[in-house]
């Protein structure tokens, strides 16, 4: 069985349309981010306390909110978690060393004596640690980007590296925008997912770059645009097969992996789709733009 072999899609012909689509997606995400005043950070980066509770019977979020308001915690954030008897409560410690989990649990059980709650998970991050983790995560992403940029510059040409990095910034930007639009939180695992997207998107891009490098030797004399288009078509079946298998497993984590890693797998899911698209429509076309403009400039200079 085979598919997508010997295709002659004109990927580069549509590159302007693709650039517009990408720009629209990124701008939409940026607007959502601006409106909401930046990405929604989880307690990993903000500091605070998160308590995941499960009740014996289904319970309304409003009931939980009322019970917490009784003890002066009306500003606690409450979120349904998966099934209708589980919820996540996010709050700030009122004084240092306060056993917030104990306080919350007691309030819930007092207000709903015939529907007892049980703590499933609890996370508490001090404000300093939150700041440190934020700095660490930012550093990690920046360092990874620089190292990758260096590696590709060595293995290919600098303009390829720029195309690849532009593609993965594009992927992360769109994923971040989608996180903002769907109201999802950025936590430590989500940052890990972002870095994986970076790795994956590159993986895809490099396979195509490799083809371009090879074809430049093989198809000497053809225009750069043609070479890139041929390379995109030749590696298309591989791109699609790999994306599909990866997408299938990531979809499985998203659908069956449970609520705890839902945001994480959502990031991967978006990343795989966007990453595949960007390898075809962003990374290589950008290199072509660069090359074409460069050649045009050279010609102009010659004429003078």
């Amino acid at each position: 069985m085979e598919f997508l072999v010997g295709t002659r899609f004109n990927f580069l012909g549509h590159r302007r349309a693709a650039f517009i689509l990408s720009a629209v997606l990124i701008i939409a995400g940026a607007i959502s981010l601006i409106v909401q005043g930046g990405p929604r950070l989880g307690i990993d980066f903000e500091g605070g306390t998160l308590v995941q509770v499960r009740f014996e019977k289904p319970i309304d979020v409003q009931e939980i909110r009322d019970s917490l308001a009784d003890i002066g915690m009306a500003d606690a954030e409450i979120q349904r978690f998966g099934e209708n008897r589980e919820a996540i409560i996010r709050a700030q410690q009122r004084e240092e060393g306060e056993d917030l989990t104990g306080v919350i649990l007691e309030a819930l059980n007092e207000a709903n004596p015939d529907n007892r709650a049980d703590v499933r998970r609890q996370e508490q991050v001090g404000p300093t640690v939150g700041r440190e983790l934020r700095a660490k995560a930012t550093n990690a992403i920046l360092i990874a980007l620089v190292l990758i940029l260096a590696y590709i510059s060595i293995r290919f040409e600098f303009k390829f590296a720029v195309g690849a990095v532009a593609a993965l910034v594009h992927d992360v930007a769109i994923t971040l925008g989608l996180f903002s639009m769907t109201g999802r939180e950025i936590s430590l695992p989500v940052v890990a997912a972002f870095l994986t997207i970076v790795g994956y998107s590159l993986n895809d891009t490099i396979v195509i770059y490799d083809r371009i490098r090879e074809n430049r030797r093989k198809l000497y004399g053809k225009s750069f645009t043609d070479i890139v288009n041929t390379s995109l078509n030749e590696s298309l079946s591989r791109t699609v097969v790999t994306s599909l298998t990866t997408l299938v497993v990531v979809l499985c984590i998203f659908l069956f992996g449970g609520e705890v890693i839902k945001d994480f797998s959502f990031a991967l899911l978006v990343g795989v789709v966007v990453g595949t698209y960007s390898s075809l429509y962003v990374a290589s076309p950008l290199v072509v733009e660069w090359q074409v403009h460069g050649e045009a400039r050279k010609r102009r200079r010659h004429r003078k």
Binding site: N139, Y151, L188
Partner: protein
């Protein structure tokens, strides 16, 4: 068969066999039932556990704590080894607390990471680990002197409160002030106290007020100072740790006036154990009985001999635990005791802390993550289900799309998983990497990405076959051409994983570990191992048609 091929075949068989053997411990450990576990000897179980895959706290439930040592106020030489002392004391306490496979590590210059898998009572563990547990044996100042102290405080307070206009106004009319009002004007602190014998008690609601008033004063000027060091107080004020009520609906706490210098501290304690009936008033309540060092016993005997009839306070972390009257000289070699309204558990924990020693400085919990065992179990079930479904779909796809070659790729994938498990369980690093939930996701992701190497190779071989090459040449060129691509693609992903390993914490690290191990293993299984199979099939068995 060439010799290089023979070697490669041998290598692949050896690696896979070794991985299978290493991984078998893990499969055995997780497949034995609880009944069987009970029948095994503890050593056999421990050795099996130590050779199998370690589960992260998010999968097996447990607590992850990051504690920060507050070195402020420590003399420099003590600050220098405060971390080592703190690590040692915390390890001691946890050892005695009894948790299987705890992990205690230093992070940076002032943090300690404690991981306690399968923990039941987090609050208790947190108290036990984070409490300073500084025990002091301190003489209680005799009543006449304590009166002087309170009077001095009252006087100083009158001055401060008058300035702030907080005292009840002097009578404007000719009516004299009531007795209480008069007392409040002259002795604002004592006016709120009731006396039990000579001991002043305050209502529990008033404690905060008392602390606030004391904080307003410059106590070094108010309290009597030492003879040799003017300005350094000779006494200190400390609350009792227990509420007292006299059946009239009010609850009180005693405020003791203690000598500033302790007679001795917890370092004079060699052993501590829980015993009932140490307090004759509470025969059924457990207390902690202390065995003193030889030196400590001598000091204790001397002090009790000289101060018969006075009170001796046992002060724990700045709170007076109990302050019995000294009946007679307590000879060296006998035991001291701490009593109070303890539950069995509290007494046991206190004994543990006193045996393990005090922490060199207060510890602050800066990060805490706890996962209940039920959530951990759910996560494993869900994670494994996701993995099985995902794996199965990939398997079906590979078989349909690449036929016989797909079988080879799927075999490589299985070997890849085996290698990941074997490496995680057998890597000689301490502590060995734990499989976390993001780690499980990393493995699932590797399944998707490991297939990629084979997809690249197979697509290449198909291309070469379309160019009319022979099977042998197509395989050779296919592998050769795809190799560089696979390397480039994997190295970039490895860079991202390595950065995560270096900068990530907790769950993120777990993800980076499985992802990088998975990629490394896939280089072997997807490139070297599959090539051996193809070579064997086409050269040794002379197969002429490639089902790909």
């Amino acid at each position: 068969m060439t010799s290089s091929m023979r070697w490669r075949t041998l290598l692949v068989i050896l690696v896979v066999a070794l991985a299978a053997w290493k991984a078998s411990y893990t499969f055995r450990f997780f497949s034995i039932s609880n009944d069987e576990k009970e029948q095994m000897s503890e050593e056999a179980l421990a050795s099996l556990e130590s050779q199998s895959l370690r589960l992260g706290l998010d999968l097996q439930g447990g607590m992850h704590l990051v504690l920060e040592v507050d070195k402020e106020g420590l003399p420099r030489d003590e600050a220098r080894d405060a971390m080592d002392r703190a690590l040692e004391v915390i390890s001691n306490r946890i050892d005695q607390f009894g948790v299987s496979e705890p992990s205690i590590q230093q992070e940076g210059s002032d943090r300690i990471i404690v991981q306690l898998p399968g923990l039941k009572d987090e609050q208790r563990a947190k108290r036990l680990i984070g409490r300073t547990a500084l025990l002091e044996f301190v003489a209680v100042v005799p009543p006449e002197e304590s009166d002087v102290v309170f009077r001095a405080i009252d006087q100083a307070l009158v001055g401060v409160m008058e300035e702030a206009g907080e005292l009840p106004p002097e009578s404007e009319s000719d009516l004299p002030l009531s007795e209480t009002e008069q007392l409040e004007r002259e002795r604002p602190l004592s006016a709120r106290a009731v006396y039990y014998g000579n001991l002043p008690l305050f209502r529990v609601e008033d404690m905060e007020w008392v602390d606030e008033q004391l904080a307003r004063l410059d106590l070094s000027e108010v309290l009597p100072s030492r003879e040799d060091e003017p300005g350094v107080p000779r006494v200190r004020l400390r609350w009792g740790s227990e509420d007292r009520d006299f059946g009239e609906g009010e609850v009180y706490r005693p405020l003791y006036v203690l000598e500033a210098d302790p007679i001795m501290t917890g370092s004079a304690v060699v052993d501590a154990d829980v015993r009932p009936g140490l307090d004759p008033d509470r025969p059924n309540t457990p207390g902690v009985s202390l065995q003193l060092t030889r030196q400590g016993g001598r000091v204790f005997a001397e002090h009790t001999g000289d101060h018969v009839g006075e009170y001796l306070a046992m002060v724990l972390d700045g709170k007076v635990q109990n302050a019995p009257v000294i009946q007679s000289r307590i000879p060296a070699g006998s035991r001291a005791s701490i009593t109070g309204d303890f539950t069995d558990e509290e007494a046991r924990d206190l004994a543990i802390m006193l045996r393990a020693g005090k922490l060199p400085a207060p510890m602050k919990v800066v990060e805490e993550r706890t996962v209940g065992p039920s959530l951990g179990r759910d996560s494993i079930t869900l994670g494994i289900r996701a993995m099985l479904i995902g794996g199965l779909l990939v398997l079906v796809f590979m078989l349909v799309y690449y036929k016989a070659a797909g079988v080879v790729a799927v075999g490589a994938l299985a070997a890849n998983l085996l290698l990941i498990v074997a490496l995680m369980a057998g890597l000689p690093v301490n502590p060995r990497p734990a499989l976390t939930l993001p780690g499980l996701a990393g493995i699932i992701l590797t399944i998707g990405m490991a297939v990629d190497a084979n997809v690249l190779i197979f697509e290449r071989i198909r291309e070469e076959l379309r160019n009319q090459k022979t099977i042998r040449a197509a395989i050779r060129d296919g592998y050769e051409r795809a190799f560089m691509t696979i390397m480039d693609a994997n190295v970039t992903t490895l860079i991202a994983a390595a950065v995560l390993l270096r900068f990530g914490t907790g769950p993120v690290k777990g993800f980076a570990v499985t992802l990088s191990l998975g990629i490394l293993a896939s280089m072997f299984t997807a490139i070297v191992a599959t090539r051996v199979v193809f070579d064997l099939v086409t050269i040794k068995w002379n197969v002429r048609h490639l089902s790909i």
